[in-house]
């Protein structure tokens, strides 16, 4: 334990397989783990997500187990959505805020039992989750290292699962099922971060390698391949999903006061259940609702094909009104898309321009490109919702 400092970045339970397959040797740090940015070809990895099947190592996602008689009441006070309405076997996306109604993180909440939840998110929140538990009969425990998780995404992911012996044909989106694998229970949820048909598989570290091998073997006919974070990032932008610390700063990490964002400002207010009773940030959010918000998170469709990553946004080419948080040329929609934070009221009008510095052969070209606010997700194939998924 004491010698941990020799290896500040840890390996996930899948590392023996991912390292063997990482021909590019491209690695990145993610929450204290080393994970693949790309394995052998980013474009082919992305193609696997949209064409066949892809496998992504999710282990560094931070996971908390929340159990006890007050678990649902606790989560209702913690998060803005109504956890009591989430049925056992269900999953929902949710957000939690500080007292000022600013977002601390987003994540997915899995209800394993009446008094048993798992919260899966990007950042660590133990002190906040424990503080919030005062007065509730609930146990909060970080289980990140106890869970080995894989994301199996792509139009053929259901077929791959079936070939591996896991029949998920009747599993609807945002539902999960428990089944046996090598004599131990695993959970498969119809969730993901690609906006496509896909599943996430939650196992124990001991099951990690057999599970990986089983899925890779079963998926071979569909061209399954491991993907790195770069390919996933392109898919998630197309799906219009936001990532903590990329598209917004969690309120408890913001040093500069103007950086924190409310659910309104991230366009996540649709999740707020005003009727469920008090939750942390509710009074501040009510006041914000009455007063109006300062920011909006929008999807942009930008002219041309030059990615607008990191660009500033202007109103009528003059006044700075925001910035792009993620951007890419979208292969799936053949559009130049971006996620952006824009000061209200400019988020609705059609006056936005992005200033792009395009690096071409060591030289930047400065471009002022017209941007249109557009619906998210940018890419939403019917297959992501179809149950049974059908054969693609």
């Amino acid at each position: 334990m004491k010698d941990h400092f020799h290896t500040p970045l840890r390996q996930t339970p899948f590392h023996p397989r991912t390292s063997a397959l990482n021909r590019l040797n491209q690695w990145g740090a993610w929450a204290g783990y080393t994970t693949a940015l790309a394995f052998d070809d980013e474009a082919m990895e992305y193609t696997a997500i949209r064409n066949g099947a892809s496998l992504y190592d999710l282990c560094p996602m931070v996971k908390y187990r929340i159990t006890g008689p007050d678990a649902a009441a606790y989560l209702n006070r913690l998060t803005i959505r109504n956890a009591a309405k989430l049925s056992v076997g269900g999953v929902h996306y949710t957000v939690w805020c500080d007292d000022a109604g600013k977002v601390l993180d987003d994540g997915t909440l899995f209800r394993h039992g009446a008094e048993d939840f798992m919260l899966c998110c990007q950042e660590r929140h133990l002190p906040w989750l424990l503080d919030s538990a005062t007065g509730y009969e609930v146990q909060v425990r970080e289980v990140t290292e106890e869970v080995a998780a894989l994301s199996l995404q792509g139009p053929c992911s259901a077929a791959v699962l079936q070939a591996a012996g896991f029949d998920m044909c009747n599993l609807r989106p945002f539902r999960m099922a428990k089944l046996g694998f090598e004599g131990v229970e695993i959970t498969i949820s119809r969730t993901g971060f690609t906006g496509d048909l896909g599943y996430e598989i939650w196992a124990t570290p001991a099951q990690a390698l057999p599970l990986w091998d089983a899925l890779m073997r079963a998926g071979a006919p569909w061209g399954i391949r491991p993907i790195g974070t770069s390919a996933l990032n392109l898919a998630r932008i197309e799906a219009g999903f936001i990532i903590t610390n990329m598209d917004f700063i969690p309120a408890d990490q913001a040093v500069r006061e103007d950086r924190a964002r409310s659910p309104f400002e991230l366009s996540l207010d649709w999740m707020i259940d005003w009727e469920k009773g008090h939750f942390t940030g509710r009074r501040a959010l009510l006041a914000e609702k009455a007063r109006g918000s300062s920011w909006a998170l929008v999807g942009l469709d930008i002219e041309g094909n030059v990615s607008a990553e990191g660009s500033l946004i202007y109103h009528n080419r003059k006044t700075e009104v925001g910035h792009v948080t993620a951007a890419a040329w979208s292969p799936a929609t053949k559009r130049n898309i971006a996620l952006a934070q824009v000061r209200r009221p400019h988020h609705t009008g059609d006056t936005l321009w992005v200033e792009v510095y395009a690096l071409r052969e060591l030289q930047y070209h400065k471009l002022m490109l017209r941007a249109h606010v557009t619906e998210r997700p940018f890419f939403a194939p019917a297959r992501r919702r179809a149950t049974p998924p059908g054969a693609f």
């Binding site: 006070r77 913690l78 906040w128 005062t134 509710r282």
Partner: protein
């Protein structure tokens, strides 16, 4: 269906003051007190057959004039045995220093140099206290633009500070957060005087005279009656009695033995209370004059409050450092000739006060505690059998959470008696009965968290707009309909009623 317009939880001086003020504004008010009698920290108890003392606080020094006049306490029976109690800074050798008049106005026992230095320091401190005093009679301002502050009044107060003159204004800014020990050692040489002033500055606080921010506590003590001390006729229960009668006369419904179990919430607002009997009372205004931490954590609960705020209610520091000693004596103790009708202070030097504080930092009992002794029986009849005497003392510092509470109490009693015996030889032989209330006993008896009689330490970081927490500093709380009115709010405790009166003022203003 509302039972009344306002329910006040807690019938201490602040609850009663708040009730009377609200009743005068035409509201129907019910006060719920858990104890069998109203008064809270203002009580007279018979701790041994025939021996009576003030149960907790034993001197009046900052009873708010708005309360005295607004409730017409004199008409309702409040009288004083003395309103200008002298202090004797005791010396173990009998070389006492007598301080007469408010805040030691006359101290003929000082050397000539010290007399002059003390006169200068005294008038400076009183001047500082005078400019700060008006803050105690108003809701704390918010430090924000467009916060609805009474800017005119604040500007006036600011001008008051500036009107001290250039030199004194600079000294004010220098000294506002200074430690009291440095001030005393810079200006005075007499250890008796320095000890007594160091004692007064830290009385009821959880810091020593060398702790920065300790002088302001002395200034706060002087803010009331510029340091004049009074002994009520019949003990502190007389204050409670007069306030109770005044409140009743104002139409307030008083219920003793009514312990509130929780605050009822309807929608997103307080709508009443439930007693521990299950009985519910409903009112659109629920005002808590009890401890703020208890109010939020136990009566309201986390489900109606934001997590950050709720967590910070647990950070309200409320360490009590004072123990209360009651002795039944079969004769008049002789403090080496000191006048028994004065306040007897055993605090021979700044260092002794500081050392007494050292121990409680580690939850230990000090070897040589410092103390303030009153002989109630010397001030009026009925406090002890004929020829006998009752003694009431505040003994500092006492640990609020020692490992072994019973052992610590016994050890503290022994240390206190040793200290008394050293100053009044033979006193131990006069003792018929002794009672020592440690901070944890005070907590249990009076509902004061940690035994801190301010319901939250009076310390700069918990004063004014920070008291008890910024979100609740103007008496309104994050839960609509729930207000605070107790000593845990600005300007703190003591037998004052200021917090309750301020809260009522604020409620009347906001709900107008």
């Amino acid at each position: 269906m509302p039972s009344c317009d306002a329910i006040i939880i807690g019938g201490g001086t602040n609850g009663l003051a708040c009730a009377a003020r609200l009743a005068a504004s035409g509201r129907r008010v019910t006060v719920l007190e858990a104890a069998p009698a109203m008064g809270g920290g203002a009580s007279t108890v018979e701790f041994a057959p025939g021996y009576r003392v003030s149960g907790l606080a034993h001197l009046v020094l900052n009873l708010d004039p708005r309360v005295v006049q607004g409730m017409d306490l004199a008409r309702h029976g409040l009288g004083y045995a003395t309103t200008n109690l002298a202090t004797t800074a005791l010396s173990a050798t009998g070389d006492h220093l007598r301080l007469d008049g408010p805040f030691g106005a006359h101290a003929p026992g000082l050397s000539e140099a010290d007399r002059a230095a003390w006169a200068a320091l005294r008038s400076r401190l009183l001047a500082f206290a005078r400019v700060l005093a008006p803050f105690n009679a108003m809701a704390p301002p918010r430090i924000a633009r467009r916060a609805g502050n009474d800017t005119l009044r604040l500007a006036k107060l600011g001008l008051g500070v500036r009107a001290l003159g250039k030199e004194e204004f600079r000294e004010f800014l220098r000294m506002i957060l200074i430690n009291v020990a440095d001030v005393l050692e810079d200006d005075l040489t007499d250890d008796r005087l320095r000890g007594a002033l160091a004692f007064d500055a830290t009385l009821g606080a959880w810091l020593g005279p060398r702790s920065p921010n300790s002088l302001i506590l002395l200034l706060n003590r002087l803010a009331g009656a510029q340091g004049a001390l009074a002994v009520p006729q019949g003990g502190m229960g007389a204050v409670a009695g007069a306030m109770t009668r005044a409140a009743t006369a104002a139409g307030v419904a008083l219920r003793c033995g009514a312990k509130v179990a929780r605050v009822l919430v309807t929608g997103d607002a307080a709508s009443g209370v439930m007693l521990d009997t299950g009985e519910e009372l409903h009112a659109p205004l629920v005002i808590s004059a009890i401890n703020p931490r208890v109010t939020f954590q136990r009566l309201v609960g986390p489900q109606h409050l934001d997590a950050g705020f709720f967590t910070r209610t647990g950070h309200i520091r409320s360490r009590g450092g004072a123990a209360k000693l009651h002795l039944a004596l079969k004769g008049l103790p002789d403090f080496r000739g000191a006048d028994p009708t004065t306040r007897l202070v055993i605090a021979p030097s700044v260092g002794v006060v500081e050392n007494a504080f050292n121990a409680v930092k580690y939850a230990e009992v000090p070897d040589a505690p410092v103390m303030e002794v009153i002989l109630p029986s010397a001030h009026g009849t009925g406090m002890a059998p004929d020829g006998c005497h009752s003694l009431s003392a505040i003994v500092q510092f006492a640990p609020h959470a020692p490992e072994n509470p019973d052992a610590a109490r016994a050890q503290m009693l022994e240390a206190a008696l040793r200290q008394l015996e050293a100053h009044a030889p033979g006193l131990r032989g006069l003792i018929l009965h002794a009672e020592l209330l440690m901070p944890y006993d005070i907590a249990a008896k009076f509902g004061m968290e940690g035994g801190n009689w301010h319901h939250g330490e009076l310390a700069v970081e918990q004063m004014l707009f920070l008291r008890p927490l910024p979100e609740a500093a103007q008496y309104a709380t994050p839960l609509p309909g729930l207000w605070l009115a107790g000593a845990g709010s600005h300007p703190g405790g003591g037998i004052s009623g200021a917090a309750g009166w301020n809260a009522a003022d604020r409620i009347i203003k906001v709900l107008k």
